[in-house]
Amino acid sequence: MTARTAPREAHSAPTTSPEHGVAVRTSALRRVFGERAVLDGVDLTVHSGEFVVLLGASGSGKSTLLKILSGFDRRVEGDISVAKRRAVVFQEPRLLPWARVLANVTVGLRDKDARARGITALAEVGLAGRERSRPLTLSGGEAQRVALARALVREPDLVMLDEPFGALDALTRVKMHGLLRELCERHRPAVLLVTHDVDEAILLADRVLVLSGGRFHLDQPVDLPSPRSRTGIEFGRLRTRLLHELGVNEELTRYEPPGATDTTTGTPPAR
């Protein structure tokens, strides 16, 4: 523990001053849980308007990183500067069940036009007219769209999403990918999305970062034309590359259990 504190001196440049066009900058970020350093030397820069996806296996520390960037975890070493106007979308919608949908969207806003902006944001995520609904009457996808509207209404410079579609069914997830991409193109915030879903990363990202062993091991720009689809050689190549980086060999997994989820590889039964 004492041995690692020394390098901090080298990075003590003034990072609190506003940097033009940089929404997130961390250097030599380190977070220790007990004996284990979950994050160990994370250097991350996210420019405004950039869509960055953090990819990592479970337990790789990607959620911890988001927690630190949102200010929930203060037991951290290293330099951090994050855009002040920021919003979070969690894996669960985390709506207040006793408040109606609109009140959930505008929670914490004090400006006079909050109500009007909330209604606009709800319309943008396709929930116009649902302002007075109770959260418990919404489907999983609808609730997560309310959470998106709640982030959007703050006009953030940075949006952080922590596996936002992980709890949704596959069909809803496809729709949500489209919606998120569309919203981000319209409002151009910097986006930092955490996921373990390689396909999701390639479909959404301008840049994919792979987190393993406490630091980034790959910084992969994704230069696919939009609208993106899962088909195509380039997609497959990227997919293999990222999976390999995560320590998964696609060729082996392909034939493993009968009735595996990957329907594209299933061979028709012999007659």
């Binding site: 969690f90 985390r94 207040l96 069940p97 914490g108 703050r154 009968p258 061979t267 039964p269």
Partner: protein
């Protein structure tokens, strides 16, 4: 077949197994033959809830009417009602009922306010918990009634002493239940509230208090019962008005009808409290979709 088996693992799971052919399976109708068809006559909730008390009344009437019990020990509903009618007419009952209600009302109001404030302070602030919670748990175990001599020394035997006794007794159930409910509020919601710019007051107002309402209502129901219990105690020890006083007086005249009228009144007032809390639950907890029983 043998040539194909080498590369088609997929069809291994598809092979009809020996057990699937020929052996009859046990099957059943999952509804067990008891289908719920479109229209079914449903007894309204309030009728079902009233059935218990009505049955009790009928039993009382039967026991006294057929002289199973001596009428000096237990008078029938008829004579109790007559006594009530008579005392209402003379103005005695309205005065005593009013006195009792105002004692309970004030005591409960103060007790609830104090209990709620203490619960929010020690539920929300860790320092508050360290300073308050252990003391509250020690005081909670002291029977409030044991404080009566002290209260009399402090405040005499007037109205303030009675209200103080009720307030003290009712503050604890409110405190205990609300505190537990505050600590039961989902931390993820608190975290989200903070992330979206809620300050301390905002968190209390928008997240903590609404989340603690279910526990608070349990405490309120409990407190309502405690309030009447302490009222009876206060009025029977030292009072010159109130339902408890009425019953003590009746005891010295051997008027069981008046004593039982007092008991029935207490029961009805307890029911009133239940109705009030139920109405509160209906409006404050309309967002909930909990299990409502089968």
């Amino acid at each position: 077949m043998t040539a194909a088996a080498a590369h088609t693992i997929a069809d291994a799971s598809f092979r009809p197994s020996e057990t699937a052919v020929g052996v009859p399976l046990e099957v059943e109708d999952p509804t067990d033959g008891r289908r719920t068809t479109g229209r079914r006559f449903v007894v309204p909730g309030w009728v079902r809830r009233l059935a218990g008390p009505v049955l009790l009344l009928a039993l009382w009437w039967a026991v006294t009417g057929f002289h199973v019990v001596d009428s000096r020990s237990l008078t029938g509903p008829g004579s109790v009602f007559r006594a009530a009618h008579e005392m209402w007419g003379s103005g005695e009952l309205p005065r005593d009922l009013g006195t009792s209600l105002s004692r309970v009302g004030w005591g409960l109001a103060i007790g609830v306010a104090v209990g709620l404030a203490l619960a929010v302070v020690s539920g929300f602030f860790r320092l508050g918990e360290d300073l308050l919670d252990s003391s509250m748990n020690i005081l909670r175990t002291v029977p409030v009634v044991a404080l009566t001599p002290l209260i009399i020394v402090w405040m005499g035997i007037g109205e303030p002493a009675k209200i103080f006794l009720i307030a003290t007794g009712t503050a604890f159930p409110i405190y205990m239940n609300t505190f537990a409910a505050i600590r039961g509020v989902d931390n993820k919601l608190v975290e989200a509230g903070k992330a979206f710019g809620l300050g301390r007051l905002g968190l209390i107002r928008r997240v903590i208090v609404p989340g603690a309402v279910p526990g608070f209502l349990v405490g309120l129901r409990w407190s309502w019962g405690v309030a009447w219990l302490l009222l009876i105690f206060a009025e029977q020890v030292n009072a010159s008005s109130g339902i408890g006083y009425l019953m003590t007086q009746a005891q010295s005249w051997n008027r069981t009808d008046i004593i039982i009228m007092g008991v029935v009144l207490y029961g009805l007032l307890g029911l009133l409290g239940d109705v009030v809390v139920r109405l509160l639950e209906g409006t404050l907890l309309s967002w909930r979709r909990g299990f409502v029983g089968t």
